[in-house]
């Protein structure tokens, strides 16, 4: 039984030793090739990343592109089938569209709502309130909890007789509605995940935005006051522009993170197939149905979607993100 630990410990020491040795070796070789002392040391120091990049990023990146054009069950070598995987995905696979719509829908609500809610909270906490540290800690708490614990907790609260329905009961009575079955009704799966996602993402965003708010120089506010600007106009003309680079960061991180939701889905165990995230679908195709080639193609579509969204935000940024020192006012 302890041989498992011994095996990994051996692997760990051998690989770690080899990395360190190769750093020294690279330094020697570069010096021998008359590379300057500073450059030789620099290259030697970043060697772990270079190897990591080649072996863990670039190599698998290219390999997955290749695999996406093949049919591959891990037991036999891949066979080239051209663009069939992609054709199947777009024309034949109904599930793909459901999954894509669900993943995008989730991000479309989760990211903006998480951003606006956090901005409001951070603004409140920035009003010279007493005990900011304590409030910040409490708001941040859900974001610190492991995703597994959080998701199990929400699965418990979202039950038909759970806490959420208890709190929403007056609302149901008012509109004469039935208690929704958050975890089994395909219509309710998106709101259920959005609620849970917001609870987690909101606190982290609040902390980041609060740090951004504290970074805005005080004299800008004093100047605005002298100019006779009111609260509201100061907020929109000083605070928001000065915070825009932080908002931009939160937005990018939020998009990348929410499109890749994975762990939560495994603990929520929604019974309806309507609520499958793209990453979960890729996992199921690859490791449960053994369609490795098809899963690789799905992964590439995922990459393209992430890149498109990031590019969109980056492209739009000159219109709304203000970097200090970039232009004279």
């Amino acid at each position: 039984m302890f041989s498992w630990y011994a095996l990994t410990l051996t692997d760990y020491v051998v690989v770690g030793g080899a990395i360190i040795a190769s750093m020294f070796l690279l330094h020697r070789v570069l010096r021998w090739l008359h590379v300057g002392r500073e450059a030789a040391t620099g290259y030697a120091l970043i060697l772990p990343w270079i190897i990591g990049f080649l072996v863990w990023n670039l190599g698998p990146f290219i390999a997955s592109l290749y695999l996406s054009f093949t049919e591959y069950t891990i037991l036999s070598p891949p066979t080239w089938i051209g663009v069939d995987n992609y054709v199947e995905m777009f024309t034949d696979d109904r599930r793909f569209w459901t999954v894509l719509r669900f993943t995008l829908g989730y991000s479309l609500f989760n990211v903006p709502l998480g951003l606006i809610g956090a901005l409001l909270t951070a603004t409140l906490l920035n009003q010279n309130v007493k005990g900011v540290g304590l409030w910040r800690t409490l708001f941040y708490l859900p974001a610190v909890l492991p995703a597994a614990s959080t998701a199990l907790l929400w699965r418990w609260m979202l039950g038909t007789d759970g806490l959420i329905n208890f709190f929403l009961q007056p609302f149901y009575t008012l509109f004469n509605l039935d208690k929704p079955a958050w975890l089994t009704d395909p219509q309710m799966v998106l709101p259920a995940y959005i609620m849970m996602g917001l609870w987690g993402v909101f606190g982290a965003n609040t902390v980041i935005l609060l740090a951004g708010l504290k970074n805005i120089p005080r004299d800008l506010y004093d100047a605005a006051k002298i100019d006779g600007a009111g609260r509201i106009s100061t907020y929109f003309n000083v605070t928001i522009p000065m915070l825009s680079s932080t908002l931009f960061y939160v937005l990018i991180i939020g998009i990348i993170g929410s499109l890749q939701t994975f762990t939560q889905a495994f603990f929520i165990k929604h019974t309806s197939r309507a609520g499958t995230f793209m990453n979960v679908y890729i996992y199921q195709e690859a490791f449960e149905r053994n369609h490795m080639g098809y899963a690789a193609a799905l992964g590439w579509i995922m990459l393209i979607i992430i890149l498109l969204f990031t590019l969109l935000v980056f492209r739009s940024s000159p219109a709304w993100v203000y970097y200090e020192g970039e232009r004279a006012r």
Partner: protein
């Protein structure tokens, strides 16, 4: 600046201050402040209720679970839930596995990230900036994309269902964001410190180990807590690489526990107890080292 202008500015300033003083005591100011506190308390309530519910459920007896309206304070407090849940599966072993993997991965991750960050921060070499941009751009690469080839690679060296894929890879800089964070810190240290050490005859290894690392201690602690958190919670990797129950880390054990419980009458009290146990070390760390959590979280945002 003419005298006239100076007087006008001072006058404006005075007027502004007077107005501010007048406004502070005004009833609408009090109303606004009350509203601010009320909204903050409301927000805290929304955020804390699920958390309190988790703790409360974890201490309830089976018969109290579905009492309506919900009961917040369990009577009697049933501490034995924690013991029962812990003994339902080999959780001792899961804990050992989690600690084993977390510590190995953490050390390698922090060690290599700091070396690479030092290289990028302090040494000039051709293509340095290009390489750094490549490093940053790998953050956008979705993990699931490279997962299949990585799985094939680990399979080809016969390391599926071992701890190696979850630990050894950390030697190759898992977290580009850690490198970014540490590089920011290294760049704030004045070069004179190193130059003095070079004059004293110190070599690069000595400078890095004895001078630079102690100086970036806050940043090391920041990525330390982030790394602990990430490895402790690493579900995706464990799910893919580990098949034997005895090799599960806590997070995978928790999922298995949830699945096995839902087949019978759901024992939510036990499940919430295990959720709490899973979260406890992270929470403890958070309360002890909150500064570093926040440091790690916010550093990326400050200078875009």
């Amino acid at each position: 600046m003419t005298t006239h202008e100076a007087t006008t500015t001072t006058a404006t300033l005075e007027r502004g201050r007077a107005a501010g003083r007048a406004r502070r005591g005004a009833p609408d100011e009090i109303a606004i402040r009350t509203l601010v506190y009320a909204l903050i308390l409301l927000g805290v309530a929304i955020v804390m209720v699920p958390f309190v519910w988790m703790l409360s459920t974890s201490l309830k007896s089976q018969s109290e679970l579905f009492v309506y309206p919900p009961q917040w304070i369990p009577t009697p407090v049933q501490w034995s839930n924690y013991k029962d849940a812990w003994q339902a599966l080999p959780f001792n072993r899961f804990l050992v596995n989690t600690l084993f993997m977390t510590l190995l991965a953490m050390f390698a991750e922090i060690f290599t990230a700091s070396i690479v960050a030092y290289g990028f921060a302090r040494f000039r070499f051709p293509l340095r900036n290009t390489l750094f941009v490549i490093l940053l751009s790998t953050m956008m690469l979705p993990g699931i994309l490279t997962l299949i080839p990585k799985f094939v690679m680990w399979r080809s060296v016969d390391r599926i269902d071992t701890f190696s894929p979850l630990t050894v890879g950390a030697w190759f800089v898992w977290g580009p964001s850690f490198v970014f964070l540490l590089r920011q810190f290294f760049m704030t240290i004045p070069r004179e410190i190193e130059e003095a050490a070079v004059v004293d005859g110190a070599n690069t290894v000595q400078i890095y180990w004895q001078i630079m690392l102690p100086l970036v201690r806050p940043a090391l602690l920041a990525i330390g807590v982030l790394s602990f958190q990430a490895n402790w919670n690493n579900f995706e990797g464990a799910l893919i690489y580990l098949n034997t129950l005895e090799k599960y880390p806590l997070v995978l054990g928790l999922q298995f526990f949830g699945d096995s419980l839902s087949r019978e009458a759901p024992k939510w009290n036990l499940m919430m107890a295990m959720s709490t146990v899973m979260a406890a070390p992270i929470l403890l760390l958070f309360f002890l080292a909150q500064r570093y959590f926040i440091e790690g979280l916010t550093v990326g945002s400050v200078k875009g």
